[in-house]
């Protein structure tokens, strides 16, 4: 059984500048995949290559087993929800939604039936006669979705479809989008720069940076086991520690306050990753943990938790504490930062 989408060794340059380098990606039937990364990381370029608006210099793109790398966009069995919806302004909502079936030569009454179904699915039944300009941003977004899914594509590409909506509406639409995807069983490839959006919606996240894929995995897995320094930094908060490689093969962090035994760590520059919630701040040592002497330099309350800045051997670490754990803490006070070496990960990349 082949994947719905299989990308192999895909590379793309813009005027000598690499935009995508050696992309490998497989998407399975019914999966919800988020392409996540900062702006300029190549996620939109990758989406455009898959849709057929950009021609890659190297590599292949297969859709349901068929090589589509050289096919024009109108011959690819996929559809796209565009960032600014790109609804046809001179056509009614129903004409917009029925555009794909009409182009593919679907019979008239079948087109009408599918259009009505698609509009019902996105909660816009009865809006068919309106023009796009008469709809709100959220409604236009739904029309764009209906216009794409009415064609029953094998793969749906979504290019930051929620970025134009305000925060509250975005949360609502996120949930609806996930439901629709679940009901249709179509694979969704969703481009976003918002890690929270990726974490809440996607089955798997494809994390991109500088035209390369940094890591592919479930959100919680990338969070717990980041493969690179970039992955650790981009998903969630992380303390990134300088790692010194010693002559005997062991590692020293925080000016030698922490030493790690010889491990089968990757070659090259390494960074220590410690999540803020993995640091316990106490007055007495906690059994089973390494206690590091620290001084509280700042306490910031963020509602559900507090972020405490700790100065340890000239470095500042952030710890995340429940409000109840704050009792007796104040700025300037010496405390113990208790960590487990198992929570400390060494990943490639310069701190």
């Amino acid at each position: 059984m082949s994947s719905i989408l299989a990308i192999d060794g895909l590379s793309k340059h813009f005027g000598g500048q690499p935009a995508l380098t050696a992309i490998e990606l497989a998407v399975e039937q019914g999966e919800f995949i988020a392409l996540l990364g900062p702006s300029g990381c190549g996620k939109t370029t990758l989406l455009r290559c898959i849709a057929g608006f950009l021609a890659p210099e190297a590599g292949t793109i297969r859709l349901a087993g068929e090589d589509v790398t050289r096919l024009p966009p109108y011959r690819r069995p996929l559809n796209t929800v565009f960032q600014n919806y790109a609804l046809f302004p001179h056509m009614s909502v129903a004409e917009n939604v029925g555009y794909g079936p009409r182009r593919q030569g679907v019979a008239k009454d079948e087109t009408v039936k599918r259009t009505v179904e698609a509009l019902e699915l996105v909660g816009l039944a009865g809006f068919g006669a309106r023009l796009p300009a008469q709809l709100s941003g959220g409604q236009q977004q739904r029309v764009a979705l209906a216009r794409a899914i009415v064609n029953r594509p094998k793969l749906l590409l979504l290019d930051e479809p929620l970025s134009a909506l305000d925060l509250k509406l975005r949360k609502k639409v996120q949930g609806e989008l996930k439901q629709i995807q679940h009901r249709l069983g179509i694979a969704f490839l969703f481009v976003t720069h918002d890690q929270e959006e990726a974490l809440t919606m996607a089955d798997r996240i494809v994390l991109m940076n500088r035209g390369r894929i940094e890591q592919i995995g479930r959100g919680q897995d990338i969070y717990a086991q980041p493969a690179t320094r970039f992955a650790a930094d981009f998903i969630g908060d992380a303390n990134l520690l300088v790692v010194e490689r010693r002559g005997d093969g062991s590692f020293a962090l925080l000016d030698g306050a922490i030493t790690l035994p010889v491990a089968n760590a990757p070659q090259g520059e390494l960074t220590g990753v410690l999540r803020p919630e993995d640091i316990l701040v106490t007055a007495e040592p906690v059994p089973g943990r390494l206690a590091l002497p620290a001084v509280v330099s700042e306490i910031v309350h963020v509602g559900s938790h507090a972020s405490v800045a700790l100065a340890i051997s000239g470095t500042t670490l952030a710890a995340r504490l429940a409000p109840s754990a704050l009792a007796g803490l104040s700025v300037g006070r010496p405390v113990l930062a208790n960590i487990r070496l198992a929570d400390l990960r060494l990943v490639p990349g310069d701190a």
Binding site: F53, L78, N79, A86, Y99, Q104
Partner: protein
């Protein structure tokens, strides 16, 4: 209250006064003249004279036929030209150069350009020499004094209006719409037919209306290229004002022309009206 309101009212009245002084008043003067005798008595005699005379209808028919053909040819040449400038030319300096080439003739006088065509279209002009040289014709063709000659001159002068209007409309079509259309399975030809052309239609219409109105009201080009053999309506008006000095009859001719032109434009606009909610 009134102290602050008065300057505001005065400012608002200025554009209104401008329109009254320079557009409405001259029209009213012509309209009144057309409805009065030279002695100032009200009369419909001028209009009766125009509408009852078959000669006027012949001239009107020639005038509007030349106007419609000019518009059609301008569209047929101008749309592809606008497409080339907006969609095909990628190198900006070349595009700018083309637009300048297109616009600069508008700065020279119609008379100069029409005389130029008289030279080019003459019996031994460049056009006839060229056609004979290419072996397309054996004896010189007659252009001067034919509707074809007038048509060539008018198309040359009015083409920029269509190109600029259509080019402007084409440049405004969001490229994302083309991507969306292709994404939904439309071939480039289908995308043009269903998306780009309908969205450029308002620009095409406004350009076509402008060309038609300028073509039917043109005087210099038809006068110079007709060689006295063909009469268009503006020549009748010119005769009345410049030779006969009958401002009343001339006014009636002007108003007839204006009303018919506006009526035709309104009908064309209604026929091609884009769907509105």
């Amino acid at each position: 209250m009134s102290r602050t309101l008065r300057p505001v009212l005065l400012l608002c009245a200025l554009p209104g006064a401008f329109f009254v002084a320079f557009f409405l008043a001259p029209m009213v003067v012509v309209l009144i003249a057309s409805l009065t005798t030279p002695a100032g008595q009200p009369t419909f005699a001028h209009y009766v004279r125009i509408l009852a005379d078959a000669y006027h209808w012949d001239v009107l028919w020639v005038t509007f036929r030349i106007g419609a053909l000019t518009t059609l040819v301008c569209i047929l040449i101008g749309y592809p030209l606008a497409w080339y400038l907006v969609r095909i030319v990628q190198w900006r300096p070349w595009r700018r150069f083309c637009v300048i080439l297109l616009v600069v003739p508008l700065f020279t006088s119609n008379i100069v350009r029409s005389f130029g065509w008289m030279v080019l279209l003459g019996r031994n002009g460049l056009v006839n020499d060229g056609l004979i040289g290419l072996g397309l014709i054996e004896r010189p063709m007659r252009f001067l004094g034919t509707e074809l000659g007038i048509l060539i001159g008018l198309v040359y002068i009015l083409l920029p209006f269509i190109v600029l209007a259509v080019g402007n409309a084409l440049a405004k079509v969001d490229p994302a719409l083309e991507h969306a259309s292709a994404d939904l399975g439309a071939t480039p030809a289908a995308t043009f037919r269903t998306i780009i052309f309908p969205l450029s239609l308002p620009g095409l219409m406004s350009g076509a209306v402008m060309v038609f109105m300028l073509a039917v009201s043109a005087y210099v080009t038809p006068a110079l290229l007709s060689g006295g053999r063909i009469t268009v309506f503006s020549m009748l008006i010119f005769q009345q004002y410049s030779s006969v000095f009958d401002f009343n009859y001339g006014g009636a001719l002007s108003i007839t022309m204006l009303v018919l032109t506006l009526a035709l434009v309104a009908i064309a606009g209604r026929l091609s009206e884009p769907r509105r909610a």
